[in-house]
Amino acid sequence: MISLAGRDILHSWQKFVLTGMGLGLLIGVTLTMAGVYRGMVDDAKALLSNSGADVWVVQKDTQGPYAEPSTIKDDVVRSLLGMPGVMRAANVTYFTMQISHRGYDTRAMVVGMESGQPGEPSHLIAGRYLTRSHYEAIADVKTGFAIGDRIGIRRHEYTVVGLTQRMVSSGGDPMVFIAIKDAQDAQFLKDNDAILNDRVRTANNPAINRPAVPGVLEAVQATQTSSHNVNAVLVQVEGTSKSEQVAQSIRRWKHLEAFTRKGMEEILVVKLIATSAKQIGMFLVILAIVSAAIVAFIIYTMTLGKIREIAVLKLIGTRNGTIAWMILQQAMGLGFIGFIVGKIAATFWAPVFPKFVLLEPGDAVTGFIVTLLICALASTLAIRVALAVDPGEAIS
């Protein structure tokens, strides 16, 4: 038996291809939206993997350091190192800021870390790790910095000595790594005016500035200009299976919050990007409805243009099923062309997106099946019209 749908598609292939391309761009956008979500999840997982931590220790009753602000003292790390099961531990700070670079502003997450400890980037693609105590930085390539570039962070300038890749925050901002001491200064220290203001206030406080007790005022003022806060301590345990045990122990004895990799992944993937995921989900639903409406409209219009031929086919004894199958195949054909175009388009434009877009093969397979289902659903309207055609129209 002849494939009526195949012949019709071949006969007017230009129309099908052009229509399929239009639909394909829409499918491309849909696949990209799914890719944006996957990219966000992957960024979050990369953030956790690249930190090299098994347990994140943060301020009590917070879900920091990525989802909520968290401040703990930087000497907590020493007490943690003394706990059973803890192999390594290091202070880290995180803060997001706008960094000016060659006349452009780049949004980046500045990470304060200790060299050779958890929190340091796991790999470099150029340059070297930090070797000096101050004013050196490692930047993710997405920041646009090159080796030797100077970065202004708050009061100081830092020289880029290394470049890393896929080191981004949960929001997709590329990271800049600097020494923990520099980061503490940048994050927690006040500006000069504020320091001066505090000094005057302290000096005017008779309870602190006592003429009979020299040295108190200076000691208090010294504490006001030094920072011993960090956002979190990253802990590596001896054997990852003991993570939960160590985390429980930290919660119980140190009065701090401790998250294992699983718990932190839940915060980042389930809670932090939940709203974005819903937003993308809404887009996907709307795009699916729009795609279905477009396919339905196209197939319906194409069917209306063939009413006479359908009447003739029915008159000469073609089964209703054969006619319905023809329309269904055309809708599927359109969906197939659209999907191929969409997949190619998404593959080409995904790397251009500012944030990571992850096009997973599994999503493509699901997208393909959903496209065909939508096309099948959308063809029902045209099939209803075709089946209602009176064969008598051919001779009236």
Binding site: M1, I2, R7, H11, R308, V312, I316, G317, G392, A394
Partner: protein
């Protein structure tokens, strides 16, 4: 003139007391009142009548597209309708027992000439190869075999009509219904079509009814049924030769 049905020869048409009423109650309209008609196998009969006389309704009843309200109809020796009873599968009946030729050829635009003709045997379950062989035979007989691979849009009006005749004959039906088959053609081509129809009727013993207003071809019929106000009257035609 006669109004009495006769038993058809093999492959013919016989209609007795056919009625068709549209609507019900006060809205009822009797399109066919008492139609009696006999067409023998191998015979080409004309059906003429003014607009609104019931020609299209009769053609639709004959083509198993609509059901008559009353009466009996036999196609190719098989009873199709008999006072309320009807053959169960009208679609298969149309496919296997009735050939249709329309005023416009209505060829399927996305199939080439061969497949337009071969489609019918394929729909009836004949294999692709055999269907195409049969189609080529018919196209050869109708002198359009040289356009076998062409698309319908590439054919002239006359060629298209010959292809539509080939399509109507593809399943070797005992009955062919032709609705104004020569309307868009000039005299020469119109008489050419009538020649083909007469030839095919004789060769395959097919009963052919030609609905027409075309003055050019009316003299070619030996018998003509006139339909007026839903009733048929048989008149003798001139039977002018088209050979």
């Amino acid at each position: 003139m006669t109004n009495t049905p006769q038993t058809p020869r093999a492959g013919g048409i016989m209609i007795e007391g056919l009625r068709k009423v549209y609507g019900q109650g006060d809205m009822a309209f009797e399109a066919l009142k008492n139609v009696n008609m006999t067409v023998a196998g191998g015979e080409v009969v004309g059906l003429v009548g003014p607009s609104g006389s019931g020609k299209s309704t009769l053609l639709k009843c004959l083509g198993a597209i609509i059901e008559p309200t009353a009466g009996k109809m036999t196609l190719g020796g098989d009873v199709i309708y008999d006072h309320g009873w009807k053959i169960p599968d009208l679609r298969t009946l149309r496919r296997d027992r009735i050939g249709f030729i329309f005023q416009a050829p209505y060829l399927i635009p996305f199939l080439d000439v061969t497949d337009n003709v071969a489609l019918l045997p394929m729909l009836a379950g004949v294999g692709n190869l055999k269907s195409r062989e049969r189609a080529l035979e018919l196209l050869k007989a109708l002198d359009v075999a040289h356009r076998a691979k062409a698309e319908p849009s590439q054919l002239s009006g006359g060629e298209q009509q010959r292809v539509s005749i080939a399509r109507a004959l593809a399943n070797r039906p005992p009955v062919i219904l032709a609705d104004e088959p020569t309307a868009p053609l000039d005299s020469e081509r119109a008489l050419g079509v009538m020649h083909i129809l007469n030839q095919m009727a004789k060769q395959s013993q097919t009963a052919i009814i030609v609905v027409t207003h075309d003055e050019k071809i009316i003299p070619t019929f030996k018998r003509i049924y006139q339909i007026r106000d839903g009733e048929t009257i048989e008149v003798k035609g001139e039977g002018r030769s088209v050979d």
